[in-house]
């Protein structure tokens, strides 16, 4: 299944791209973050995959994930065709 990831701010700088599409096996289990018994891909798993490939410096604990343009929790399942964005601590205003 394909997941689109868009990068903003620090993540755009560290990844060197505005976004990418990642193909995960159906029922992908993340080796770091999925708890035993969880068979679905979560937002947390998508982040750990991206962080490992791009060498992201920010700890997942300070981030918030968004799926399809809405804030969600890290254990939210991610489905084929979803758009995932990792939100660093915001600094607007």
């Amino acid at each position: 299944m394909d997941v689109t990831i868009r990068y903003f701010a620090l993540f755009r700088e560290q990844s060197g791209c505005e976004g990418e599409t990642r193909t995960f096996p159906v029922g992908a289990r993340d080796k770091h973050l999925n708890r035993p018994g969880e068979a679905t891909l979560t937002a947390a798993a998508v982040y750990s995959d991206a962080a490992e490939r791009h060498g992201f410096s920010l700890d997942q604990k300070v981030l918030r994930p968004a799926v399809n343009g809405r804030y969600v929790s890290w254990d939210t399942p991610v489905a084929d065709g979803d758009e995932v964005v990792f939100i660093p601590p915001v600094s607007g205003g």
Partner: protein, 160 residues
């Protein structure tokens, strides 16, 4: 009390995100408020401008990055919640993104209630929520040649 009117009487959306300057747009909104909402008696606005310094360093340039779709959604949600939570009659906010010159308006909030008390409280609440939640990030360039992405305070889930 008069009949209800759409917010589009003075602004078509409750939260505006754009790269163009916010002046004079935001001042036009404030100026036109009275003729469209005569029951508003207390208006409080907050204007955030780009500073030429940060943590003792000289800031020479600044650019905001934005996740547009989520910024629009969260901004509108915050303004609407401020409106109902404090019983306002009218509220509007705007955030500029992209490069913003020193001294220009970066963020702006207007809270209009029948009386000053709810307008002061709501204006403060709306700007605080925008700064906590709306996905906008500040990139600063300094006089010493360095640059930095500013990261806000993530806080805990309960503070959000």
């Amino acid at each position: 009390m008069s009949e209800t009117r759409p917010l589009s009487a003075v602004a078509s959306i409750s939260f505006l995100v754009r790269e163009d300057p916010l002046e004079p747009y935001v001042f036009d909104v404030a100026q036109q408020l009275g003729q469209h909402f005569p029951e508003v008696g207390g208006v409080v606005t907050f204007t955030g401008r780009v500073r030429n310094h940060h943590n003792g360093r000289v800031v020479t340039a600044l650019e905001y990055s934005v996740y547009p779709e989520l910024a629009q959604f969260e901004g509108e949600r915050i303004v609407q919640e401020g409106l109902s939570r404090f019983g306002l009659i009218y509220a509007h906010a705007a955030h500029r993104v992209g490069p913003v010159p020193i001294g220009e308006v970066a963020v702006w909030v207007l809270a209009g209630g029948a009386h000053r008390q709810e307008s002061f409280s709501a204006c403060r609440w709306i700007i605080d929520e925008i700064k906590k939640t709306v996905p906008v990030w500040k990139h600063e360039w300094y006089g010493d040649g360095h640059d930095e992405w500013i990261l806000g305070n993530p806080g805990s889930e309960s503070e959000r």
